[in-house]
């Protein structure tokens, strides 16, 4: 028996798709009209999407108005970040007033990295991030990174060959961590109500990036780091 030609196969497939799709859409409309909704918290969590782009496309006045309205939330989130920073690195000086600019990153990247010294940022910061503060303490290089449109990010780095004394304790606390799949690669992550965190090793350096609940931004940092050193 002969088979359908390619053209006929396409016509048949398209006809089926049209009918099936219309029946599905009708079913979906019926569900919506009846108010049928299934709670899918696990799927919602798994299918964790990057933040909506709408906030980035808002006009400046609208953004400012929104910022004023969420001042309290921001303050609380900042407090959460502070707690996170203390937990991650125990570096009080990190929260000192910003005194450096984005040129720090460039200058740092030009300088050699002496043993036991602060590691330079050897990658391009995503979007409009800039270095607000940086420090070196207990074997860890810590950068506070700011952006006008996204939440602040804390980046800590240390060479895997020079694991800081408190790193083991910190790693143990990662036992409850989950994994985020970024570009097909699983990366250990921690996501709570107040903050998100990614931790990974690359080219002999251990990185931890954290911020308020914005894993999409952390993924962007991950990509910048991995791409820069690939």
């Amino acid at each position: 028996m002969k088979q359908l030609s390619e053209n006929d196969a396409r016509r048949v497939a398209e006809a089926w798709v049209e009918q099936y799709g219309m029946s599905l859409l009708a079913e979906g409309e019926t569900m919506r009209a009846q108010g049928v909704s299934y709670p899918t918290p696990r799927a919602d969590k798994v299918v964790r999407r990057v933040p909506s782009q709408q906030s980035r496309q808002q006009s400046r006045p609208a953004r400012h108005a929104r910022h004023r309205q969420t001042a309290l939330i921001t303050t609380l989130a900042a407090a959460a970040c502070l707690l996170l920073v203390v937990w991650v690195a125990s570096i009080p000086s990190l929260m000192a007033p910003p005194s450096t600019s984005s040129s720090d990153a460039t200058l740092d990247s030009l300088a050699p990295a002496p043993v036991g010294a602060k590691l330079p940022l050897s990658f391009d910061l995503p979007a409009d991030y800039r270095v607000a503060a940086s420090d070196y303490d207990n074997g860890m290089s810590v950068y506070a990174l700011e952006s006008e449109t996204r939440s602040a990010v804390v980046l800590t780095m240390y060479p895997t060959s020079e694991q800081p004394a408190d790193a083991t304790e910190r790693e143990n606390s990662f036992a409850t961590m989950e994994e985020v799949l970024i570009d097909g690669k699983p990366v250990p992550a921690k996501i709570d109500l107040s903050y998100s965190m990614l931790t990974f090793e690359h080219e002999g350096v251990h990185y931890t990036v954290s911020n308020r609940d914005d894993m999409g931004t952390l993924a962007a940092f991950y990509r910048s780091i991995v791409r820069a050193e690939a």
Partner: protein, 184 residues
Amino acid sequence: MILVFAFADASKANTFEYLYRRYKNLLYYKAWEILRDPMDAEDAVSEAFIRVYRNLDKVDDPNSPRTAAFLGTIVRNVALTMVKKRAAAPVPVPMSVDEDWGGDEPADPFDLEAAIIDKISTEEIYQIVNRLDEESRTIFVLKYAYDLSHREIAAQLGMTENNVTVRLHRTRKKLARMIHEAAL
């Protein structure tokens, strides 16, 4: 496992978010119809959207029947795969080449005559295609309605490219016979 989807641009991200919001309930229900388990149905929805993410370029209009059918086809396939795994069914052995298998070239293809096509309504075609087994239908639709390559289909369905090729050949042959019979 938590997934962070990275998109080339904002419009793709928005499309994906819209698809999830709009079709999540429907796909959940479709998966539940097959799996009869809320947790498994959620997993099926998650897995389906991972596959949607990988094939987001196939989505032009999120509100079109074509998109709905694409999502429905994917979630059904995911759910049925889960059923197979749940039943610990043996993995199908890659199909051997048929005696009448002529390779990639659609040897002696059957062109439907205009008269035959006119006799068959879209609804009849729909019913005919529905009589195919689920896997064959999925392969056929992904290939000829959504232009997925054999490799992409094989990855979607967890089979070999050769298996996809053979199944397509058989399906086209079977459909030619079924449509011809329906027109008589």
